[in-house]
Assembly symmetry: C2
Homo-oligomer: 422 residues x 2
């Protein structure tokens, strides 16, 4: 995009969430808005859940602070003063155009692009607070990994956000260990963005003005059977005013792409989201294989079988929405699987459970400070869904991981358990 | 296949080659022939390039030997006496029905299935010796990895064997580190087998009776443009006599599949062979990234870009013969890539070259006992081919590896070098 093409309005961007990944995304987006100042407002808002933070006495910030400010300080104040999220992304300099804001509603004011980056359990409450405060024509990108598995249906977090706010929301996912990205070590990611065509005469939807009348849960497996593209049919999108540059794949790429963070923009939101969920189940199996000391062939075999089942899962349950390539050649698929099976907590806890002869619950209690292992939770949820679809036998690895976690099988038997029936 | 269905003739199997992979394949095949005695002759011939071997004084075989046999002995004698290839696969018990044979022509006598497992530079000479000594209706499987890259064309080793001997030859490749497979650690492999339809009235081809009049080099890129399946059009296959069970995917699977060695049989010989060649180039780049300490995201990104270029290479130059899935979901594709980028000499030498600040030639001279690094050789050959096709820019990673190896670029610049142009 040439700087010579003026737009009457520039896109204002807000990052909702400021954990390590949220702060990392804010860093990159702020670098991009400064670079593409013809398209974006330079300053990027980052909503921060406010808390008091005591600077470490050894930190350079502490030493530079005046005596009065050496007590506990607001996290937003620290970020805006020292340009570092000392609590959640310590040691990483944030661009000065990342503006920490403790007010959710103020942070999204006039923003045409909203980037969601917070734990998934907070989505509904957050959307409730946002209703009526966002631009009705805003667009969203969810950086929340995974999917919402129900007994007989699967929903996407981006869909929930879209339905709750009456906007379109895409998804970002990839082989992205936040600490490596923050240090500008080379990475790639996938952004899925595919808003439906808009009837420019459509009235403002009620959802942008008040409480949403629609369910927060989108049953995409049902949508799939109706030959739709996985987009929330219940939301009538408001067109973006013509004063703005269109928010298309080119604009999305400009917003996220850095020299050290390569972005591929695709249209398959469901595939990108499923990849981020199912890979954790495969990583548990890969961890067991490493714990057993079975070597590189075995680990690659388990990963390959997992990749095949991920693709089959998409093809089977989202036949009209998923592009199988998302799993096999995009960062959100095969690359994220490789990274997750190389390190990561799912792999590590599974490996330790074999090495120490302990249950995964014991390892998880010791290693994760009370958090539950994502791969184990997803394995159980996915198994419930597969049972409801009478499809367990067609996903032998996903099923085996669940059964072994439940004590109904042994990791040593994985080769037999995943052997396709003749 | 039920044991109740009798065949007048059973398939006799010969393994041609007895290195560590050849001996490992012989072990598995002999286990399979013993299990499926309705289809296969129990004894499996293994041709051994004869040499004198002195047993180690500490070995249990030495201690059990009579005094007269404690001097140097023939390798075939040692294998047939102790059921161990002490030189090339020490420590692994071979089934007693692996019969080492120093005579090439005797080893293939009456064999309907020939499994080729020797260094590729010996193929032509070996085929010359075999002509006139094999069953004219025999079928082959090549376990030789890689492809034969010429300046403006690419040939398959399995094709060369097929053309030279006037038979059909498939290919086996996968994430198969021989030592792990030999220890029965779980692995998978891919066998590609796709003989053309046979005109059962066809005369015996001259090639099975004497010197072949055809070129040993099959230009598959030319074949591809003629919309063929990559099979040697110049060979007229002899039908298998009806006394045998057909050699189809089911039979092939029975021959190789073990509980610890899962086999998927496909039809894409070209894809399986290309995967085994191109992965080594990607492994060099992955080794550099590990040498630079760039972390898991970066390594997964390089592997993903490599996988995409492998698939594109197949699609572009073998559009009618390659199945893109071979690269993305088969063991010979993505799994072999993962294994090769985890360990293996290409990855290791590239990593060391960065860590020690030395050229890859220096590392290769020190680490490989005078052998050349396969990934470096393939990178150069593939680059020559890509130049001839004016396609360098469409394969930025394959091109970057070549250029960096030649000193025309730095591994540190890989992210820029592989960035797709807008």
């Amino acid at each position: 995009m040439s700087g010579l093409t003026p737009y009457a309005k520039k896109h204002k961007v807000t990052i909702i969430g400021s954990g390590n990944w949220g702060s990392t995304i804010a860093k990159m987006v702020a670098e991009s808005t400064a670079e593409h100042s013809d398209l974006f407002e330079r300053d990027v808002q980052m909503w921060v859940y406010e808390e008091d933070v005591q600077l470490d006495e050894k930190s350079k910030h502490y030493k530079k602070s005046s005596e009065t400010s050496q007590g506990p300080q607001k996290l937003t104040h620290i970020i805006n003063t020292f340009h570092e999220n000392v609590k959640y992304l310590p040691g990483i300099a944030l661009p000065h155009n990342v503006i920490a804001n403790p007010s959710l509603t103020d942070s999204v004011k006039d923003s045409s692009i909203l980037i969601f980056n917070l734990p998934h359990q907070f989505i509904l409450g957050l959307c409730k607070q946002l209703r009526g405060h966002i631009l009705p024509y805003a667009r969203g990108i969810s950086c929340i990994k995974g999917v919402n598995v129900h007994e007989s249906s699967i929903g996407l977090f981006s869909e929930t956000i879209g339905e709750e706010l009456g906007i379109y929301c895409g998804a970002l996912s990839g082989a992205n260990i936040a600490s490596e990205v923050a240090q500008e070590k080379f990475s790639e990611t996938t952004v899925a963005y595919d808003p439906p065509p808009i009837d420019s005469q459509a009235p403002t939807p009620a959802t942008s003005q008040g409480p949403s009348p629609v369910s927060s849960h989108v049953d995409l497996t049902q949508l799939a059977h109706k030959d739709v593209t996985g987009r929330p049919s219940k939301v009538k999108l408001r067109p973006l005013p013509q004063e703005y540059q269109a928010i298309d794949h080119t604009t999305i790429k400009k917003l996220f792409h850095r020299r050290y963070f390569h972005v591929r923009v695709v249209s398959d939101v469901a595939g990108v989201s499923l990849g981020g969920a199912l890979k954790n189940v495969v990583a548990v199996a890969a961890g067991w294989v490493d714990g057993l000391g079975w070597g590189d062939n075995a680990k690659a075999a388990i990963m390959r079988v997992g990749l095949l089942e991920m693709r089959e899962f998409g093809n089977r349950f989202f036949p009209h929405t998923v592009n199988p390539d998302t799993f096999t050649v995009e960062s959100a698929g095969v690359a994220d699987l490789i990274t997750t099976c190389s390190g990561g907590r799912n792999h590590r806890c599974a490996m330790l459970s074999i090495r120490e002869g302990k249950s995964i619950e014991e390892i998880e209690a010791r290693e994760l400070n009370g958090q539950k292992l994502q791969g184990a939770m997803t394995a159980h949820e996915v198994n419930t869904f597969l049972k409801s679809q009478k499809a367990e036998k067609d996903f032998p690895l996903l099923t085996a991981v669940h059964n072994i976690l439940k004590g109904n099988g042994k990791a040593e038997d994985l080769p037999d358990l995943i052997e396709p029936s003749e």
